[in-house]
Amino acid sequence: MRLRHTAAPRPAHPLRTLAVATTLACALPLTACGSGSGSSDGKVKLSFSWWGDASRAKATEAAVAAFEKVHPNIEVGTQYATFAAYNQKLATQIAGGGASDVIQIDWGNQSQYAQSHTLLDLSSGPGKVDVSGLDPKFAASGKEGSDQVAVPFGQTAQSIVVDETRLDALGVPVPKAGWTWEDLQTFAQQVHARSGGKTAGITDPGSTWPAFQSWLLQRGKPLYTADGAFGFTKDDLAGFWTFCTQLRKSGAATAANLTETVVSGPAEDPLAKGAAAAEWDYDSIYTSHVAANKDKLVLVPLPTVNGRTGMYAKPSMLLSVYARSKHPKEAAELVSFLVTDSRAATALGSSRGLFPDLVVRQQQGASATGADKVVADYEAAADSLLSATPSAPPKGDAQLITLMQRVYDEVSFGRQSPQDASASFMQQAGQILEQ
């Protein structure tokens, strides 16, 4: 028999797993789109990366095209991905020294990147960006110490996205500003009952980290203290989850398996599937919800406690220039254009929330149509309801978003009580924040 030849296994196979981790880490920066350099036709080539979905991509491409028209000597290459994938890729690119010249960053990651000197200071030097047109307090959200490491690329506020068409069909009135959590419970219960159990009133907010932040702010507590520790206790979290569990068990909020799909983005979530009539989200995601949904959607402020909404003006995302960019001046020009130029505002619409520059924002608000108008009107009405913007979240915040989803799974699938789960959350979150 000659079979022994084939029967001899190749010991190389177990090594393959390792290769996944290691080669990826080493090879990605090599293939990734590196910093652009001058090209033969004399044009400066910039690269710009962001996260988002197809509808945001369309708006962003249009804004970039407008920039290239004004600056014919600059060519901008763009790339985008979904939020989670984007952050993974960006970290790898930065480690390899090959991030894009202009990068969109999340507020939750800002401290981490700034502390490792990845982001260029935009307050002076070759990469100076004039932010005098922005609300100074809002522009300061991009500061790390005295350095302007990022410029807010849009202002957003928390909201409840409501499916008006569905509510009309069910004969349930659209909730009004100033409603309470009890009102929300009644409303959601009503939707559940009148739809014959087919539609939950609201997508279970228990897995949403920023929803919990607003819940806390309404009760006068911050998510983080000034020195980056938690401003709440295990009991606060257990209280939030107990409320959500009560909603879910009565059918007022979505079942666990539906809540799972929230991570996949508006196109696959319960609101788009008609399994929920309302959903917690930032208003900067509204246009993506509209793109994913045939029904008419409206924005409603969060339920209140003693009149407090716990909403605040948040940078939906920020723009930074990579510290190792070969073209800091041109990169800064692109950033500047994207946050202050009215042509950028026209192209971007409300795909990232309100436009940063105040004068342009006002013009834009006055002439907005469709989804952009809904967001502009919502922000204008919500302005008086906003709390003070907290300082930038500490390093590790982005991981807590996923931790929240994971631990709440244990609650929503009925494997742990809200009390036990919140204890487990505090323990695991502690490890992340200490890191």
């Binding site: 029967a7 177990p14 990147y113």
Partner: protein
Amino acid sequence: MTPASRRRRPARPGGVADRTAGYVFLLPWFAGLAIFTVGPLVYSLYLSFTRYDLLDAPKWIGLANYRRMFTSDPRYFHAVRVTLEYVVVVTPVKLGLGLAVALLLNRRRRGVGLYRSLFYLPSLLGTSVAVALVWRSLFAQGGAASDGLSSLGLPGTDFVNDPSWSLPTIILLSCWQFGAPMVIFLAGLKQIPSELYDAAAVDGAGFRQRFLHVTLPLLSPVIFFNVLLETINSFQAFTPAFIISGGTGGPADSTLFYTLYLYQSGFNDFRFGYASAMAWVLIAAVAVITALMFRLSRLWVFYGDGGNR
């Protein structure tokens, strides 16, 4: 192996020049091996003793990663359990299916070539992202599987997003891809001399006896090879869990495979030192299991040359 075949391989007469030329031609391969395999391997061994978040330089922390893994990380043990469950179910079921279908297809029949290709097809698509995506939409709520069950009056579930069904869904996907071991089984079956069957038939052996006393012993090296290969592959399963759970290992960590947790530790939590340590523990574990299987193979694998290794 017969002595004759050994004798056919003459000692190489080539001189130094020949050998040098050989190495020169091998250079590109050696360079690739050093840069893309050995280099990262050694580096990851170093990283496993450090804390490294990609942004700041690695910081030496000795055995802390390994200690944490074995003493204070319940998720680690959970991932090990999920992976073992997967390996223990997938390997035998997949091989059993592969062998059964190979036996069916090992006959002269019209269209048998077509069947072979059809059964092999899923394996070709095997590790692809597209199949995992299709699987997800088939078994998610509103997908063909749950709708089909409900139309039969059975309770349809959201298999993908239900923690008690998500792992079985992935196991099913893997078992469906039994084509690769099947093809190897087929090749092995073809090698069994038909005289042995004829002789057995003359002695009055029925199908069962022929299978037990002719097919199985002569096929045992191939079975061993397949068991080894599938076990190692199953330990490394990643893509289906990653795609079907959307990268989370969810719902409720029910599909948190070892490799997926390794990936998350690195790319979500930015603990590349910890992830490297996990990779090395996996290598060590697979090496031990492989060695054990070789040891055990002496008891049941029959090499036709009468050698008793």
